[in-house]
């Protein structure tokens, strides 16, 4: 569509960071439209800078484009300035590779990474010129699909999507596209297609389920209303993770994005079982990539992209069984090529000093720990097995090497939390400061800064805390005040998240289908880019909740019984209810659970899923 291109070109000159809206980056895949049978618009419901950093998109983009007659393109949420230009000049939302309007595509896929991106989905559908409600999109195409971690409870978004994809997407995305390719020539209705799609493992078509409610507002039943819909939809898992598809090329952006580097996934799932952590449960089981595979992927991506930085991605990289050998091999390569190797989520205490030195050689910026709670008792409640001794030992080592900054991450509002635990946060931070002064002057750096970040705990589905009430804003305010009261050193800096953001996140995370109306209403009032402080309008969200008679406390601040049917009870993420209940009980008794490497605790994941420690 030449017209769109011309229109865009003039507007780009009046737009911030215009390179985000025109495509043409190295590694972007352009195909001949006439030779393509299925077109997929992969939408990340946030701005380019954020979305382009997302690993899942890179994987699925490469995977789909590896099929000659499928074409997957990228779409992001425009910033407000460009969005205003688009609306004023009637430019529909388009994909970056072809610059074609996405309303003409076969599939529009959204990845739902965080609750605060929900309104962006509506905004993008609307910008595309499509009705936001699934029921109003009567034609077969575009088929609007959703995936990503928030899909473990997609109910608040159920009315806007044709189907959801549960779990890992590498196989099921292609199965879905193949089904479409096969059925397309016979011109099926949307319902005919969705019924067939519902037979595929891991595909959830929300309109095929009726939800009934009790008088107290809780869910009483979730029942399939067509024979193709299964009573329980099970998430997809790639058992042979070492041989799973991984792209050999990335799209290399011109503008700087949040994570502007090569990313290689080294393992999936997590052995730790921290009770607050949704990722730790929904991505189970723990599987790892062979270090030869990791090395090969690192080299090929560095060569293709020209990036001078590579990062290993996982929930806990040091849990790889061959981590030392891996890092030795990788740093041999990166040193030679003047490439910077960075390792987020690394537990330094388990590693040899030599390796730490090699990796940390470049910039001594800082150390980050996530004790999450201020006392050992509360860390036992949440099953976060990092001890104060480990923190102190690592900090001592780091300070004597010249490190000056330590970041400590905590959560406020955890179950069983008392003022004593909050005081413990201040005390731990103070101990780290004191430790710095214990190091001889000639060994330590010039100064010390301990940053304490205290976010608000939000209970999430498929965790042992899914039953827990979230602290109210008043409770959190008290806790924040108590924390500040206990901090006396100027070397400790405290920061916390905007409270209202956590409230909204809490409501949406464990919400049900009735919330669709409130999301629609908030969006209509102008709520978009909610995850951006400068655009977040809690007042409008509150208005929306009021108008839709939504009791936010019902969703966020209520203790749920072990017997309650959750809005996501028909979705099976392979973690058994029994296990979650048991873990919840142990949490209240401050009893820890061993990690998967120490021995199986019977979470419900089957051995066939390929977990290293399963069975």
């Amino acid at each position: 569509m030449k017209e769109i291109k011309e229109k865009i070109e003039q507007l780009l000159l009046k737009t911030q960071k215009p390179a985000r809206y025109i495509g043409g980056e190295l590694g972007s895949v352009v195909k001949d439209k006439d030779k393509v049978d299925v077109r997929f618009a992969f939408c990340f419901p946030d701005v380019y800078d954020v979305g382009m950093s997302h690993l899942g998109m890179k994987i699925l983009y490469g995977l789909k484009n590896a099929v000659p007659n499928y074409w997957c393109e990228r779409v992001f949420m425009p910033e407000k300035d460009f969005e205003a230009h688009m609306r004023k000049n009637n430019i529909p939302l388009y994909a970056l590779e072809s610059l074609d309007p996405i309303r003409d595509f076969d599939f529009i896929g959204f990845t739902l990474q965080y609750e605060l991106s929900f309104t962006n989905v509506l905004e993008m559908l609307d910008l595309a010129g499509l009705p936001v409600y699934a029921k109003d999109r009567k034609a077969l195409t575009p088929i609007v699909v959703g995936g990503g971690p928030c899909v473990c409870n997609p109910e608040p978004m159920a009315d806007f999507f044709d189907l959801f994809i549960l779990g890992e997407g590498e196989e099921v995305n292609l199965e879905l596209m193949r089904l479409y390719e096969k059925m397309k020539p016979s011109c099926p209705t949307k319902e005919q297609f969705l019924r067939e799609a519902a037979r595929i493992e891991g595909i959830y078509v929300p309109q095929f389920y009726d939800v009934a409610y009790n008088e107290d507002g809780t869910v009483s039943s979730i029942t399939p209303n067509v024979p193709e819909a299964k009573p329980k939809i099970t998430k997809r898992v790639i058992p042979d993770f070492d041989h799973a598809y991984y792209p050999d090329s990335f799209v290399v952006p011109f503008t700087e994005i949040v994570h502007d580097r090569v990313v290689v996934e080294v393992l999936r799932g997590c052995i730790r079982g921290c009770r607050f952590c949704q990722a730790g449960f929904i991505y189970r089981p723990f599987r790892e990539k062979n270090i030869d595979t990791i090395e090969r992927e690192t080299k090929s991506l560095c060569e293709q992209t020209g990036y001078e930085q590579v990062s290993l991605s996982s929930l806990s990289t040091s849990d790889h069984t061959k981590i030392t050998e891996l890092l030795t091999r990788l740093s041999d390569y990166t040193d030679k090529e003047k490439i910077n190797l960075s390792l987020p989520s690394l537990r330094i205490d388990t590693m040899s000093k030599e390796i730490v030195d090699r990796i940390a050689a470049v910039r001594k910026s800082g150390l980050t720990f996530a004790p999450e709670a201020g006392t050992q008792r509360l860390r036992d409640v949440i099953n976060k097995n990092i001890t104060e001794e480990e923190i102190i030992r690592t900090c001592r080592l780091a300070f004597s090497e010249g490190y000056q900054n330590v970041k400590l991450y905590f959560m406020l509002g955890l179950p069983e939390e008392t003022d004593e635990d909050i005081k413990g946060i201040a005390e731990l931070a103070q101990r780290v400061v004191d430790l710095y002064y214990e190091i001889p002057k000639e060994q330590r750096g010039k100064s010390v800064q301990v940053s304490v970040s205290a976010s608000t705990f939000v209970p999430k589905p498929f965790t042992p805390f899914e039953f827990e009430p979230q602290s109210t804003p008043e409770e959190i305010k008290h806790k924040q005040g108590h924390l500040l009261d206990n901090i006396s050193s100027k070397k400790i800096k405290v920061s916390y998240h905007q409270q209202n953001v956590s409230v909204l996140e809490g409501v949406l995370a464990r919400g049900d289908r009735r919330l669709s109306k409130a999301i629609y209403c908030a969006w209509k009032k102008g709520c978009t880019l909610d995850s951006w402080d400068e655009y977040f309008r809690f007042d409008l969200w509150q208005e929306a909740f009021r108008e839709c008679n939504t009791d936010t406390a019902f969703y966020a601040n209520r203790r749920r019984s072990y017997e309650e049917i959750m809005p996501w009870s028909h979705l099976d993420y392979m973690i058994s209810r029994r296990f979650l209940v048991n873990e919840n009980k142990k949490a209240h008794e401050a009893k820890t659970t061993r990690n998967c490497a120490e021995g199986c605790s019977g979470c419900g994941i089957k051995k066939e899923c390929g977990g290293v420690y399963c069975g």
């Binding site: 000159l13 390179a19 043409g24 992209t305």
Partner: protein
Amino acid sequence: MAEMLVPKNQSLRIIRYEYRLIFEKKGRARYISHLDLMRAFQRVFKRADIPLWYTQGFNPHAYLMFPLALSLGIDSSVELLDIALVEKLGFEELRDRINAQMPEGLRILSAGEPVMKHTEIAAAEYVMRIKTKLTGEETVKAFKRFLGQEKIEIEKRTKRRGVNLVDIKPHITLISCEPESDEAVIAVRLPAGNEFNLNTNVVTQAFENYLGFEIDSIYTTRTKILTKSGEKFI
């Protein structure tokens, strides 16, 4: 810890070979900002395995130098990039190896030895294709009347004195101004370089203010980079 702070680039090589690349930037690449262009080229060189010379220091970086920045949104086939290598490469080999790794819209036209100094850059020429609600001929006439004014004053913000008015008329040299279907095709020479630089968008903005309505579209191409004496910069 003091003795641990040693520059990483210990195998520094003193001998360096300097090259001046002339490249084009057009199409989608037009929207790459100056800063992003630097990064894009670093990655191109990395992919092409060009033996770049690295600066010394705690944060060694490849030596890349753009003698004259190009405003975002402007096409050009005369852009300059100076680089230094630690090995000698043939001009054509260098050009071809780089081009094999370039993103859409960027292409090296030639590689050679730098002859002149950056400070010799004094002017640049541009062709602007301007479309307004007027016909091409009327736009041409309007532009000529615009240039025929006694003064063309624009507002310039400075940190010290706030907003003040600057007359840009003496700096604009009109080379040609012809209608081409519904567009006006205007070639101008403007001062460029470190001493004084005038961007085309300042001129077109002043023209738009003069017209009193919004210009529909402008496509600008930089066509020449010149020295004080009007020679081509090489």
